[in-house]
């Protein structure tokens, strides 16, 4: 969703690779009760009597001045562009109003739905997003479990420090490294040739793009992805393990019956977030890695939108596509959240 928005993706506060940060509960149920407990406290005076706005402003006017700049910021840089989405339904003229000139209904939506190229990038997005989810979601769990089995505290710390490192690299650096390693004379091809194969021009072959992209995504995100799992592993009651040992459960059975159920709430929350950012597959990275020779697999909705919307200045057409993408993202996250709440009881809110 928000990865189509340049700032959210580039500097969404760094901890999350995607714009949607996991600012949500590892222990969702607890958070819910806390939020519930707090409800209704705001806006009550010392006596517990209902406070009118006039009185609240007079009493806390200094506190409200803290809100002036942030609210102005949100209004201009978050809500104005949100309203600006209206140009998906209106014709926009450069130099004219930012909300467009005249209504054209679903003209731009029809334009991309009947465009064959749009469907190519749509399916590319679904496949790339699906593969990312399928591979990059479970691997941090596996790595966290592996780290958890280490007995040397110092060694564990070392592995963690090294595996977090790629997360701190700029996407430009990551893309640069990928392009160098996959170059005809790069390390990957050196290995291929050492095993008697022929060098492959990876970044000129559409059939290789997905493999290259997913591999780089694994390299960049898996280590950092373990943090929340490692945190939730420490909250599992160690008496459970002891009891299981006494019952004769081996390590594998302990992992399966105690560890995995123990981190399930974390898994669900992260899964929901991953599903929510499904359509926004690493826009910046794809943009940096792709080239016209491999558009047939490497072009995704967000990069297509960038090309037609910004580079060819078809603002309304691009906005319609962006809105479509954002709505799918919203539906996915709400849907995943609803299903998760019903099935496992874990949810974002």
């Amino acid at each position: 969703m928000s990865a189509t928005e340049p700032e959210a993706a580039t500097r969404g506060g760094a901890p999350a690779a995607s714009g949607v940060a996991p600012a949500v509960a590892v222990e969702p149920t607890r958070r819910r009760t806390r939020a519930f407990g707090r409800r209704g406290r705001g806006g009550r005076g010392e006596g517990g009597a209902r406070l009118t706005w006039r009185k609240a402003l007079r009493r806390d006017w200094q506190l409200y001045t803290f809100l002036v700049v942030p609210l102005l910021f949100l209004l201009v840089f978050r809500y104005l562009p949100m309203l600006g989405n209206v140009i998906a339904f209106r014709r926009f003229r450069p130099g004219g109003s930012i909300f467009g000139e005249e209504w054209v209904g679903l003209y731009y939506f029809e334009a991309f739905i009947t465009n064959q190229q749009f469907w190519t990038v749509f399916w590319n997005t679904v496949i790339l997003g699906g593969l990312t989810l399928l591979i990059c979601f479970p691997l941090p769990i596996v790595l966290a479990l592996m780290l958890n089995e280490l007995r040397s505290r110092r060694y564990k710390k070392l592995v963690q420090t090294i595996s977090y490192l790629p997360h701190f690299m700029s996407i430009v650096i990551v893309a640069g490294l990928v392009l160098q390693l996959t170059a005809v004379n790069g390390t990957v091809n050196q290995v291929v040739e050492a095993f008697g194969g022929d060098a492959v021009a990876f970044m000129q072959r559409p059939d290789w793009f997905r493999t290259v992209y997913i591999t780089s995504e694994v390299w960049q995100t898996v280590g950092w992805g373990t943090i929340l799992y490692l945190a939730s592993l420490t909250t599992i009651d160690s008496q459970l393990y002891e009891a299981a040992r006494i019952d004769g459960a081996n390590r594998w059975k302990q992992t399966w019956h105690i560890t995995l159920p123990g981190i399930r709430p974390t898994m669900m929350v992260l899964l929901i977030l991953n599903i929510g950012s499904f359509m926004a597959v690493g826009f910046e990275k794809v943009l940096l890695l792709q080239n016209p020779l491999i558009y047939s697999t490497a072009d995704v909705i967000s990069t297509y939108l960038y090309r037609v919307g910004i580079q060819s200045a078809q603002f309304s057409y691009g906005t319609a596509i962006g809105l479509f993408e954002a709505l799918i993202g919203l539906v996915l996250v709400l849907g995943a959240n609803g299903i998760s709440r019903r099935v496992t009881g874990a949810s974002l809110w």
Partner: protein
């Protein structure tokens, strides 16, 4: 006197972690012992694979073009030289852009911290009427936002910030994640402290500046790092809004270098002209110089990031 000898395990609270570490009453099976060795080896391998691209980068930075072109540079520099460093560092544009990155990072971080801190403090006070609304206003933007193009129109056309530093440092100035982390930190602040101060005649501003901020140094440092690293690494907004080379941050400088080199490569069909190889060489040095500050600070800042992420996820 057996009673005094038998220690109630529950009363003393046995160190179950230690029991687990020692293997407990039941000894680990051979299978598990094999697994542990394999596991440790696998993790070592993962570390090596993670580090390899960086080591390769360093090796390439000090190698001559000929050896890189022949595909002979892995971990050890071949044809050792520092000429590439001189070449890159001799480019005045590189230093201009490096300085820009520094400037954008500092200005952007200051703006972002100002907005985040004041907003977080206001919405963390239970006495603020309309608190839920003000929180919701920020949280909603996490799930739905104006897309790329409405943002672009706003910044480039409406505000006229094309080729302006403000396009880089202002639009991203609030991360809702950071806001929620800070809010939950301020919420744990004892209200009594502020009440006492206000009874002594201190204004809200005084409380904020002289009590709250000095006691929040840890979270302020963490948030500053979040924003600063994000800004240091960012490239897309600069790529989008800036045309003037003199204004680019170093990430865009690097991006253009890579794009130029790979562009040549696809034209020559991967046969590899000299231009490409010099590119690979210079690319490596530029990349190395760009990541150097991050790598140097990394060991010290890493734990702040981890603790910030945990704070946000557990209490957000």
């Amino acid at each position: 006197m057996t009673d005094t000898v038998t220690v109630d395990p529950l009363a003393t609270g046995p160190d179950i972690g230690a029991v687990r570490r020692e293997g407990g009453a039941i000894k680990d099976g051979t299978g598990y012992r094999v697994f542990r060795v394999v596991n440790a080896l696998a993790l070592t391998l993962i570390c090596l694979v993670t580090l390899y691209p960086f080591l390769n980068l360093v090796a390439k930075s000090f190698s001559s073009e000929g050896f890189i072109a022949a595909g002979e540079v892995n971990l050890i520099p071949r044809g050792f030289n520092t000429a590439t460093f001189s070449a890159v560092m001799g480019d005045p544009l590189f230093w201009t852009n490096y300085r820009n990155t520094l400037l954008y990072t500092v200005v952007g971080t200051v703006i972002a911290m100002a907005i985040t801190t004041t907003y977080a403090y206001a919405i963390s006070r239970p006495r603020l009427k309309g608190r839920t609304f003000f929180v919701g206003l920020a949280v909603f933007t996490m799930f739905f936002s104006g897309g790329l193009i409405p943002n672009y129109i706003l910044v480039a056309n409406f505000l006229g910030w094309r080729n302006s530093m403000w396009a880089i440092v202002v639009p991203g100035a609030l991360s809702v994640f950071n806001l929620l982390v800070m809010k939950s930190f301020f919420e744990n602040f004892p209200v009594e402290l502020e009440e006492a101060a206000s009874i002594d005649g201190m204004s809200t501003y005084g409380v904020f500046a002289r009590i709250v901020l000095p006691l929040s140094k840890a979270v302020l440092a963490t948030m500053t790092l979040f924003y600063a690293v994000g800004l240091w690494n960012s490239w897309f907004s600069a790529f989008l809004y800036l045309d003037d080379k003199e204004l680019f941050p170093v990430t865009v400088y690097l991006r253009n270098l890579i794009a130029a080199a790979t562009g040549t490569e696809s034209v020559t069909g991967g046969a590899g002209g000299d231009a490409v190889q010099i590119g690979a060489n210079i690319q490596s040095v530029t990349m190395l110089l760009t990541v150097l500050p991050i790598i140097c600070f990394y060991p010290f800042i890493q734990r702040y990031f981890v603790s910030g992420l945990m704070l946000g996820s557990v209490k957000g």
